[in-house]
């Protein structure tokens, strides 16, 4: 079972990373009439500009994965760190909360799409998208992690480690994180999908980075869904597949480290 999961996950990653090499057509060139059904032109038919949906799918995987996964990882990572840190440091020190969590509240209060627009105005490239998406996922990740960590902090082994003078890295990463891992991973899985669509939204607003990002494929295919459903369903299924396999893999990873909790 686990092996199957890993194989699936590996295949998905391979397809995404090496897709452009095996794609039959370029991502942007029209190869047939628009909205051609599968079979008549290309494996999955063509999109609204007559471009090969299958090839665009293969081309768009890597930028989608890189941008979204990176953004989700950075955002979740920063959020988890902030959440763990404040949970640990704020006992008896209210300023820690004031300094670390309140700004995050402020960030959370600015709608993600505005964050995206602002960051991209300053940094109009892929790094900007990654940063913007990461920024918008930090606050909630931090909160969720903090709430979960609060329940673990008082345990004696954390106190012993504190008394030993452990570094923050050890305290957060080794003493607390493993005990809140299941919550954090659940959060990360969703962050990833959210990142995919925020990146797509950026593409929709004319701020995209790749010509065939999967999220953008969906947005573009939507109006023509009645004519060529495959152009819509294929990227949706692709994202679902990546999301499900990535989450299964991380679940398996979490279960592998034995222990009393989850």
């Amino acid at each position: 079972m686990t092996r199957l999961k890993w194989t699936l996950f590996g295949l998905a990653v391979l397809a995404v990373l090496f897709g452009p090499l095996v794609a039959p057509h370029p991502a942007t060139a029209p190869i047939g009439p628009p909205f051609a059904p599968p079979g008549t032109a290309g494996l999955l038919g063509t999109d609204q500009l007559g471009r090969d949906v299958f090839s665009r799918l293969l081309h768009g995987g890597a930028p989608m994965l890189l941008t979204s996964a990176l953004a989700a990882l950075i955002g979740s990572g920063a959020g988890v760190t902030a959440g763990l840190f404040t949970a640990l440091a704020s006992s008896g020190r209210r300023w820690v909360e004031a300094i670390f969590l309140r700004p995050l509240d402020l960030l959370a209060a600015v709608p993600p799409i505005l964050v995206l627009l602002l960051v991209l105005t300053a940094l109009p490239n892929r790094a900007g998208i990654v940063l913007a998406v990461a920024l918008s996922s930090v606050p909630l990740s931090a909160r969720i992690t903090r709430a979960a960590a609060e329940q673990v902090i008082g345990r004696a082994h954390v106190e012993v480690a504190l008394a030993r003078g452990e570094s923050w890295a050890w305290l957060l990463g080794r003493e607390i994180l493993p005990l809140v891992a299941s919550t954090v991973l659940a959060d990360l899985g969703i962050r990833f999908v959210a990142a995919v669509y925020l990146v797509a939204a950026a593409g929709f607003l004319g701020l995209g980075t790749s010509a065939s990002d999967w999220g953008l494929l969906i947005v573009e295919a939507l109006p023509g869904a009645a004519l060529q459903p495959w152009a819509l369903l294929a990227p949706v299924a692709g994202i679902a597949l990546v999301a499900v396999t990535a989450n299964l893999a991380s679940d398996a990873l979490a279960r592998r480290s034995r222990g009393v909790l989850g």
């Binding site: 012993v160 030993r164 034995r258």
Partner: protein, 506 residues
């Protein structure tokens, strides 16, 4: 008498090793049986099996367990748990739901109770285990109780449904003599009304007092099964009192008018003490008096409200973050609750090598491994345990791993919070021996927190007695705890001054 519990050729495996290797045990209605054996011999595993529960990682390898003729493995017969059998586990702190008040824990254990009768029922249960019969107390949450109070709440919950059999796994380890006496009295009352008892303990005196029959486990096998009177008297605790006079030696750690509180509630006030190099100071006091709180203040985990902690005459920062590595290495704490003291996802090797690296700068893997083996040997654990996770250890084993971890820092002062309470007499003696050795050879000073005057008498050279949050007596052990004084009297004389519960009014 009909058989209440019947265990036949029970084999349980954990990680490929047998934990129980063909155990037979029959318990008749109303019969009291003591289950003894060295730490790690399988007592807890057997007790849980009686309830039809296997800890995670433990597999059923054959044999059967039945209660009143109904099989308990693989799935327990309905109505047995909580109904026929009341259970108290070895780790009281971890057993309590942190989100429930004491009253609600007790009421949910008691089953449906008419609204009007609830408060009375809770008070009754608290009283039976020697806890204050106050509504204010019942409204507290588990984290607001001391270790001993938690343990008694768990016991009260087990009694709540008038079970026919009590399976009690070391239910008095965290209790001082007064509390223990009260608890034992309640249990005796239960057995007298025909409740059967499976009493897991290493404390032979309680065993003799309570049970008709003793079953001895060794490495997962029953080696003896005979009537209680035949069991030899407890081996005397070896007296290892150090010969040297402490006045000759330098003061390592001292407390000056320490006071501590939880929010508004004052716990300690005006505590003074001096701990000399190589000496052992026993801190004695009833459950809930603030012993653990004192230990946490010394280790920098609880900010004292006032007063100071001095190491070699210099005041230490109140918080551990403010202390230097050397200062932190100098004071090592062995926490009271072994279940929570070890990280559930870290194996023993990691737990031990971490202080080696942090506080002693031993970074090479091979050097660490040698030290880990040495430390495990020092606490009398096989080195094979190094790769296990805490969940795969017995209660006593965990306790010793926690001790070994404290020793790994090579401390000048070792604060031991009830380190011996979860250990059988032989292991307990071994640990006390070890402490004596450390003191003699390395000059380590030991602050021994205990509720057991015998342990204090046998291991310390001076005693600090806490009552109602103050040091009510202090001085050389020989003077305060004369060998041979009746323990009950001793306790009454020393500890049970004005407020029994030991908590200052909220």
């Amino acid at each position: 008498m009909t058989a209440l519990v019947e265990v036949r050729d029970l084999r349980l495996l954990a990680g490929g090793r047998p934990v129980l290797a063909g155990v037979d045990l029959v318990l008749a209605e109303g019969e009291s049986v003591g289950l003894v054996g060295a730490s790690g011999s399988g007592k807890t595993t057997l007790a849980l099996a009686v309830l039809g529960h296997l800890r995670s990682g433990v597999r059923h390898g054959g044999g059967r367990v039945s209660v009143r003729g109904k099989d308990m493995l693989p799935t327990p017969a309905p109505g047995v748990r909580g109904g026929t059998i009341g259970y108290v586990g070895q780790d009281p702190g971890a057993s309590l739901n942190p989100y429930a008040r004491i009253s609600s824990i007790l009421l949910s254990a008691a089953g449906p109770t008419p609204r009007a009768a609830r408060a009375g029922r809770v008070r009754d249960l608290l009283g039976r285990v020697g806890l204050p019969r106050e509504d204010a107390f019942a409204r507290r949450y588990p984290h607001q109780l001391s270790g001993g109070q938690q343990q008694r709440v768990v016991l009260a919950a087990a009694l709540a449904r008038e079970p026919r059999l009590l399976v009690l796994d070391e239910p008095t380890t965290a209790l001082d003599l007064v509390a223990k006496a009260e608890v034992l009295r309640e249990i005796r009352r239960q057995t007298e009304t025909g409740v059967a008892l499976l009493w897991v303990s290493h404390d032979l005196s309680t065993v003799r007092e309570l049970v008709d029959r003793v079953v001895v486990l060794d490495a997962g096998k029953v080696t003896e099964d005979r009537s209680a009177v035949e069991v030899t008297a407890a081996p005397a605790v070896p007296v290892t009192r150090a010969a040297a006079r402490e006045e000759d030696r330098a003061i390592v750690l001292s407390g000056r008018s320490l006071a501590a509180s939880f929010g508004e509630r004052a716990i300690l006030s005006d505590v003074d003490f001096d701990l000399h190099r190589g000496a052992c100071l026993a801190v004695l006091g009833v459950s809930g008096v603030g012993k653990s709180t004192l230990a946490r203040c010394l280790a920098g985990l609880h900010r004292p409200k006032s007063g100071s902690v001095l190491l070699h005459g210099t005041a230490l920062a109140p918080g551990v973050r403010g202390r230097s590595t050397a200062e932190r290495a100098a004071i090592a704490l062995v926490a009271q609750n072994p279940a929570e003291a070890l990280h559930p996802r870290q194996d023993v090797r990691t737990a031990l090598s971490r202080p080696l690296r942090r506080l002693r700068g031993i970074t090479s893997r091979s050097a660490q491994d040698i030290e880990v083996t040495r430390l495990l040997e020092a606490v009398r654990l096989p080195s094979a345990l190094a790769s296990r996770l805490p969940g795969e250890l017995s209660g006593g084993q965990r306790q010793r791993v926690a001790l070994a971890r404290a020793l790994a820092a090579d401390p000048e002062v070792l604060i031991c919070d009830e380190v011996t309470s979860a250990l059988d007499t032989a292991t307990q003696a071994g640990v006390l021996d070890l402490l004596a050795e450390l003191r003699a050879e390395l000059g380590v000073a030991v602050l021994l927190i205990t509720h057991d005057p015998w342990v204090a008498a046998s291991a310390s050279d001076s005693v600090l007695v806490l009552a109602s949050g103050r040091a009510v007596a202090s001085g050389p052990t020989a003077g305060l705890l004369p060998v041979g004084e009746d323990p009950e009297k001793l306790v009454t004389r020393l500890l049970v001054s004005p407020i029994t519960e030991g908590v200052l009014p909220a």
